[in-house]
């Protein structure tokens, strides 16, 4: 794609286990355009968070990046040294995590962390750092930002903590923000607020977002593009309307029909038969074939490559419906 900010190509990440090397990510491909919001959707365990961590090279020490490229504006992040990737973190690519309570250092105030990030990453003085912090907190619609700077994480509510996390991540105006299930740990009423806030800010700061979630509804409301992940691979990728209204992959269809809709007159919810494949002994060929009602012999033998449906809409399936 021409305007891609981030391009993940065939990313394979493995973990050593007592059963040998297990592939948690098995050829992930993603494209994220500038100033767009891409929703990365999948069930728990499909590898969404791992993909995010790979971009920033924050994987657990036992993980091995076995193959693939992560290209950020013409540079392969996987080729960078430790200090080079550290330069990127926070300044070009930043991350917001799922549970703000455990992701904030309990013994430092909000202000101390924010000032520290600004001083060390932007090389500005303390007074400027304080002003910039207050400005960012205000953007996140936090009341009384001067006071918040002096508070500790345990003195803030869940929603406030998440806003603070987002504020810290955006302090250096990164080009790409990775949000890993940013609202999952919050009350439903606050979820919508935070997501709307994220949408507004990234528009203002012209940041691209990789929004990770398991909730199709969130994708529908907030994202411009969607990528569906299953068992360590991306099975469908395209603009949100295309993917959700004209799903090409059987798994996507299954997900959509399993989601209850308002005014639906069904008695029972549709379920995708079977369960997520084990990583230790994965299915051959297409990972989804054991659960797929459209599977044919070829699906068992070969892995499908992405096929273009329409402009920008790709599906990895031999039997595109």
């Amino acid at each position: 794609m021409k305007d891609a900010l981030l391009s993940v190509r065939n990313l394979r990440v493995c973990f050593p286990t007592t059963y040998g090397l297990v592939a948690a990510l098995d050829g992930v491909c993603l494209e994220l355009e500038k100033e767009k919001i891409l929703g990365l959707v999948g069930e728990t365990g499909c590898g969404k968070t791992l993909t995010a961590l790979s971009i920033l090279r924050l994987l657990p020490p036992s993980a091995r990046i076995v193959a693939g490229e992560i290209v950020l504006r013409k540079r392969n992040l996987l080729d960078l040294s430790e200090s080079e990737i550290r330069e990127i973190r926070g300044k070009e690519v930043s991350m917001v995590f799922q549970d703000p309570t455990s992701y904030l250092d309990p013994v430092f105030t909000v202000g101390e962390v924010m000032i520290e990030v600004l001083e060390s990453r932007q090389k500005i003085g303390r007074r400027e750092a304080i002003e910039a912090s207050i400005e960012m907190l205000t953007k996140l619609r936090l009341p009384n930002p001067e006071r918040i700077l002096r508070l500790y994480p345990h003195e803030l509510s869940g929603g406030m903590k998440q806003r603070v996390m987002i504020a810290i991540a955006l302090l250096c105006h990164p080009e790409l923000l990775i949000a890993d299930e940013p609202t999952t740990a919050l009350d439903v009423t606050i979820q919508a607020q935070i997501l709307e806030l994220i949408r507004d800010i990234v528009k203002e700061l012209r940041t691209s977002v990789l929004l990770i979630t398991h909730n199709l509804g969130i994708v529908a409301e907030n994202c411009e593009e969607a990528a569906i992940m299953y068992a360590g691979t991306v099975v469908e990728h395209g603009e949100v309307r295309d993917v959700l209204e004209k799903p090409g992959h059987p798994y996507t269809r299954g997900l959509l029909s399993a989601t209850p809709k308002l005014f639906q007159k069904k008695e029972t919810l549709e379920v995708i038969p079977g369960s997520i494949p084990s990583l230790i002994d994965p299915p051959s060929g297409c990972k989804f074939h054991p659960r797929c009602s459209y599977a044919i012999g070829k699906c068992k033998r070969e892995r499908p490559s992405p096929v273009g449906l329409e402009h920008g809409h790709y599906v990895s399936c031999f039997r595109i419906v």
Binding site: L58, F97, Y103, L104, D105, S120, H154
Partner: protein, 340 residues
């Protein structure tokens, strides 16, 4: 909550503790077999002599009366009785010897905490490296080493053979004569520092080095191990990953953030170790001829100087309680979640 409230809350536990400990020691020493009067009188004493001593010590009255009389004198007049051996008020004796012990224990604790944190964090960050194996071996050794033996070995090696540090004592006698120390607190290191008495300061530092290191050795082992474990755990915490994602340097993340969090539970260990430190004082002071409560206590134990024995035990209990209180207070400064 505010600091004064916190302090007050902690203090309310101190009084019952002291009362309890004094009762405990009092009753144990009087309940156990052995006739103090007879032992004081010595072999060959006549019955009348023993009886006279018994009356003099008030040992003929019922136990609880003795205890009440003792406590009344203690609380109202700060009088712990008179030492049978030195014939001075026990309180004076205790105050005389207290500063030396306090100095020794405090310096030991400083050594323990600083070296422990240093070694522990280096072990954790370079896990299974040279420093890690070295400090873990050292820690294992420290837990098994008899303090008096280590002290003697160091005396042989460093003092006698190499002559780097003095063998015993708190300060060089000739130095003390030529550069007398004005007694403000009784703590030589402080008093000499404050009055600018550099020669005496240097001598005091040289003299306290070995006893403090030996005293701290076993606690050092505990603290090093604990800091290592604690830091390794903290490094797995979520917020460490978040801090890294902001691009902060390894050094800041580990030594500013992770270590700070890892130290909090370490304080508990430090508090626990104070008890052992205070016990170890007896042995160390004997080995190094350190004129503190340990040495004083030893002579009162050997001579069965009951008022002294009671006084020494009470003071040690009090010291332990106060030091624990200080550790408790430090929680307040180090962990913001406690201030709620």
């Amino acid at each position: 909550m505010k600091l004064p409230v916190y302090v007050l809350k902690r203090l309310t536990t101190v009084i019952p503790m002291l009362l309890g400990v004094s009762a405990l020691v009092f009753f144990i020493s009087h309940v156990l077999p052995g006739d103090p009067a007879a032992m004081i009188a010595g072999t060959g004493a006549t019955y009348e002599q023993i009886a006279a001593i018994r009356i003099e010590l008030g040992l003929d009255k019922p136990l609880y009366e003795q205890y009440l009389a003792y406590m009344r004198r203690l609380i109202l007049e700060f009088d712990l009785g008179r030492s049978i051996y030195s014939h001075r008020p026990v309180v004076s004796d205790l105050l005389d010897y207290l500063p030396a012990t306090f100095e020794l224990v405090t310096v030991s604790m400083i050594v323990t905490v600083s070296v422990g944190i240093l070694l522990g964090s280096m072990s954790a960050t370079r896990k299974d490296g040279v420093v890690d194996h070295f400090s873990r071996t050292l820690a294992s050794a420290g837990l098994a080493m008899p303090a008096f033996w280590l002290g003697l070995l160091l005396q042989i090696l460093i003092a006698h053979r190499l002559g780097i540090l003095p063998v015993t004592g708190r300060i060089d006698a000739t130095v003390l004569m030529k550069y007398p120390i004005t007694r403000i607190t009784g703590i030589y290191l402080l008093d000499t520092l404050v009055t600018g008495n550099w020669i005496a300061f240097r001598s005091s530092v040289l003299h306290i080095a070995m006893p403090a290191i030996v005293l701290s050795f076993s606690s050092l082992s505990h603290v090093t191990r604990f800091v290592r474990t604690s830091l390794l755990e903290v490094l797995n915490d979520d917020y460490v990953r978040a801090l890294k994602s902001y691009g902060l340097s390894e050094r800041i993340v580990v030594y500013k953030h992770a270590l700070r969090n890892a130290i909090i539970p370490t304080l508990t260990i430090v508090g626990l170790r104070y008890s052992y430190l205070l016990g170890g004082v007896f042995v160390i002071e004997k080995v190094f001829d350190w004129p503190g409560l340990g040495l004083y206590g030893l002579s009162s134990f050997i001579y069965l100087d009951f008022p002294s024995i009671l006084g020494v035990t009470l003071v040690f209990a009090l010291l332990r309680i106060i030091l624990n209180l200080l550790v408790d207070l430090s929680y307040f400064f180090v962990d913001p979640r406690v201030r709620v």
